[in-house]
């Protein structure tokens, strides 16, 4: 397992808000730094801005090379010149979420101790909610001088942020595209997150969350968390198509080469998951993972409204386009339909599409031509209705 400590010295494009934010938990977090990337040009009327919200382990590098991994951004197939989220037409903003580890204030950020010295927040970082993430994004959007967003788009946890944008700042969102998401985090999804967290807690190198003191990271625990979560992002059909039961021989592995040994061979799917785990720990902070998964668990649009998920959207004038994927069992179509019907109850303008795909939850990041057409068409339609040529 890779033990490299993630590089914390990177500099990201960011704005610091000295007054910070009052969080849902009651804590006043200040200052708050918000790291972001923008693509395209803001129109003189400032009416062509689209916020793209990233998922649990994503970041603001949506359409350019990731500074840590050197790999292309996580949605380069969707965001760019001439692409469905067309940066020749739209000004695209992607913001690292509050609690993240790519420049926005989070558990790895320094806090002032009583004696004037600083140390990372670690697990003392206050619990945050999806709404807190959106409040931080709103600070940045205001800072950029934008009153109304043409659209907010996001998948998975990004979709939760889209919904919170619409519920918290309805007048600021002309169109919204919650993708592969749900109006609340289900018991099953909380359960998966808990297994991920327990994997991190169980790693002796986690050191109760103060792993920086020992110059270590809980790489094994975080990798196991990622491996487990990654299974939930796929589908049985996708795993079968990609790996089947194919076996590869693992020369460097304990017991390898000894005929008949228990782990002498490795299934390709095992090898793939190990690779996913080991590359993940190089770019992601374990305490951020704990903070953000908890924020997802708290997400429930009906929680403050006796379970009525439609009330946060009462009177909304936002145009919604809900997208689900047929093989997504983490955020299934049935939950997207609950959201669609909640929006129907307030007579909102709702499009609702289920894209036929066997790629599971991750389909929203992958090549799905119908999905591309849906995003492009919905945004073009929104721009037309918003009066943007």
């Amino acid at each position: 397992m890779d033990q490299t400590t993630p590089d914390t010295s990177l500099s990201h494009q960011s704005v610091t808000f000295p007054d910070g934010l009052r969080l849902d938990c009651g804590f006043h977090l200040a200052p708050v730094e918000v790291a972001y990337r923008t693509y395209g040009t803001l129109s003189p009327a400032r009416d062509n801005a689209i916020v793209v919200c990233h998922a649990l382990t994503g970041d603001q590098y949506v359409a350019d090379t990731h500074p840590l991994t050197g790999k292309p951004g996580w949605w380069t197939r969707m965001v760019g010149p001439g692409l469905p989220i067309d940066t020749e037409r739209f000004f695209v903003i992607c913001i690292n979420v509050l609690g993240g580890c790519m420049g926005t204030t989070g558990p790895r950020s320094p806090r002032m101790r009583d004696d004037g010295t600083t140390e990372p927040w670690g697990t003392d970082f206050p619990p945050i909610t999806i709404r807190d993430m959106v409040r931080a994004q709103k600070l940045l959007v205001e800072h950029l001088g934008i009153d109304r967003l043409l659209a907010v788009v996001g998948g998975s946890m990004g979709g939760m942020q889209v919904l919170e944008w619409c519920a918290t700042y309805p007048e600021c969102v002309f169109a919204a595209m919650p993708i592969a998401t749900s109006p609340f985090h289900s018991a099953q999804n909380i359960a998966f997150n808990e297994v991920s967290r327990q994997a991190i807690f169980a790693d002796p190198q986690w050191h109760g969350g103060r792993y920086w003191e020992c110059n270590e990271i809980p790489a094994r625990g975080l990798a196991v968390a990622r491996m487990m979560a990654h299974i939930t992002y796929l589908s049985e059909a996708a795993l079968t198509r990609k790996f089947g039961r194919r076996v590869r021989h693992a020369p460097g592995r304990a017991g390898a080469g000894e005929p008949g040994s228990l782990f002498g061979e490795m299934f390709e799917v095992e090898s793939y998951l190990r690779h996913q785990g080991s590359t993940f720990v190089r770019r992601f902070d374990a305490n951020s993972y704990l903070t953000i998964t908890r924020a997802m668990d708290y997400f429930d649009l009906g929680a403050e409204h006796e379970g009525d998920m439609s009330r946060p959207f009462a009177g909304t004038r936002t145009r919604f386009c809900i997208v689900s994927f047929s093989s997504d069992w983490l955020f299934p179509t049935s939950q997207a339909r609950l959201l669609a019907r909640a929006l129907n109850r307030v007579a909102a303008n709702v499009s609702f599409v289920e894209i036929d795909s066997d790629k599971g939850h991750d389909a929203f990041l992958l090549d799905e031509p119908d999905f591309d057409r849906t995003i492009r068409g919905f945004l073009c339609g929104a721009a037309e209705h918003a009066g943007i040529a």
Binding site: R345, V353, G377
Partner: protein, 201 residues
């Protein structure tokens, strides 16, 4: 756009809120938005049509008349349109009630089972009729609740709906000339088109 859709569009006042149940390829929605400035939205059961419509920028959600109308609030729309679908829904009376709950007006078109060709085929051959409109065998047809124009009028009377306007058209949507006689329309009209409202609305 089909001719019968043009007739429907002609019944809808500009700049109103319209829900098209069974919006198909979205042609009526597109027309109503572009030509009448309507806030026109669709519900469609065929996912390919939904995707195609949304990809054209039209607000369409996947759903169907039997299960999705109940979720809308009262008077959410000025018009609720049901094109050539009434005979295929599970509970036509309930669908009509929902349409006139969430909309001030309901526009309903359906193929007329009272057409003379169907009557003659039943009488002469003694078998389920097959025509260009009723063109699937009984074991395959989605049209589980066929009715005649007279049947529909009876239902409207029983439910207390006011028929604001009606017309009978042929399969291509050309208006048929039996405007004054419902009995003639029931014999010669292939499709029927109704504009309804609640008595109290």
């Amino acid at each position: 756009m089909r001719l019968d859709q043009r007739l429907i569009a002609g019944m809808i006042r500009p700049r109103t809120r319209v829900l098209d149940v069974g919006s198909g390829d979205g042609a009526l929605l597109d027309y109503l938005f572009r030509n009448s400035g309507c806030d026109a939205r669709g519900i469609e059961i065929d996912m390919r049509e939904v995707t195609r419509s949304v990809a054209h920028g039209l607000p369409v959600m996947h759903g169907d008349a039997d299960h999705d109308l109940a979720h809308y609030p009262d008077n959410a729309f000025d018009y609720v349109v049901l094109q050539r679908t009434l005979q295929a829904v599970e509970r036509p009376r309930e669908v009509l009630r929902q349409m006139l709950r969430i909309g001030r007006y309901a526009i309903v078109s359906f193929p007329n089972f009272g057409h003379w060709r169907l009557r003659v085929q039943m009488l002469v051959r003694g078998r389920m009729p097959m025509t260009s409109v009723w063109n699937t065998p009984w074991y395959d047809t989605p049209n589980i609740h066929p009715c005649t124009i007279l049947d529909f009028l009876t239902l409207c009377r029983d439910e207390g709906y006011v028929v604001e306007e009606w017309m009978a058209v042929d399969e291509d949507g050309e208006r048929a000339p039996w405007r004054r006689s419902i009995r003639l329309a029931n014999l010669f009209g292939e499709q029927a088109l109704f504009l309804l409202r609640r008595k109290d609305g």
